[in-house]
């Protein structure tokens, strides 16, 4: 009974890594999107385990909801389901794998021995909505307001880019 949380943690981690691998390895873009959704749900479960309920919900709503629907919509819109031949050479793929492996080993070797002391006072309510809202609207009010400007600019940019120009080839 004592080790239950460990089993849950290892299972979630394994599923997350497998789904992330599938994102990269899947030939069909639709499969990539769906396994990315699985990855995001597993990450949300991790956030719940870490007592960050607010971000777990936001992760599901924003990432698994809005962003992945946008990806799925674009893939279906462009009709990419019949996958084209990947044109990257095996040499480039081998190089990418070597670069990735070296990066992973370097990060792990650098951070393996570091000690992380626990804080003196531990507050369980760190990830709750009340705490985050207080910090967000007291210390980070200006960035919060600037995000609205960012969204406005992004919206205008997306509409500008998506607009059909005169003399362009039609779909």
């Amino acid at each position: 009974m004592q080790n239950q949380i460990l089993y849950v943690w290892y299972l979630l981690t394994a599923v997350t890594i497998l789904a992330a691998l599938l994102v990269v390895l899947a030939k069909n873009p639709i499969h990539s999107v769906l396994s990315l959704v699985v990855t995001f749900f597993c990450l949300s479960a991790h956030y719940v385990l870490l007592n960050a309920q607010f971000l777990a919900v936001v992760n599901i709503i924003v990432y698994a909801g809005a962003i992945m629907v946008l990806f799925l919509f674009v893939i279906m819109f462009l009709n990419l389901r019949e996958y084209t031949e990947e044109t990257k050479s095996n040499f480039a793929k081998l190089g990418a794998a070597v670069v990735g492996g070296v990066t992973l080993v370097a990060i792990i070797a650098a951070l393996k021995k570091v000690q992380y002391p626990m804080p003196m006072r531990y507050d369980v309510r760190t990830g709750f909505v009340e705490t985050l809202g207080e910090v967000l609207f007291r210390d980070y009010l200006l960035p919060f307001e600037l995000v609205t400007v960012l969204f406005f600019v992004a919206m205008v940019g997306a509409v500008m880019l998506g607009k059909r120009e005169k003399g362009e080839r039609h779909f």
Binding site: T87, K88, A96, A154
Partner: protein
């Protein structure tokens, strides 16, 4: 009461886990030619960073990290909107999302 994960799982495990996710994202960016899948790999890397920020924030009992994750998510949403609009525009002009065909900016 301190959450059970904080008591039983060392913070290093989260570092290894997040590095693995990040490296998978790097390999995806380097190996794939489909612009949309490259974009999804970038999202994977962003999420690895989010996970690490939340883990440190919980272990240190400091809400600032989670506020940063909130901002990262907001920026990622804006980024995806613009990026996908660019990809759709590229598809309109080239009839493909293969980045191998977009070599006009090379050199």
């Amino acid at each position: 009461m301190i959450p059970e994960v904080v008591q039983r799982i060392p913070l290093q495990y989260y570092i290894f886990f997040a590095s693995a996710l990040f490296v998978i994202g790097i390999v995806g960016v380097l190996t794939r030619r489909n612009a949309i899948i490259i974009f999804m790999s970038v999202e994977l890397m962003l999420n690895a960073v989010n996970l690490l920020l939340i883990a440190f924030s919980t272990y240190r009992s400091d809400p600032n990290g989670q506020v940063f994750v909130f901002f990262i998510m907001a920026v990622a949403a804006a980024e995806v909107a613009v990026g996908l609009a660019i990809i759709v525009m590229i598809y309109r002009n080239v009839r493909s999302v293969d980045i191998g065909l977009l070599n006009k900016l090379k050199w």
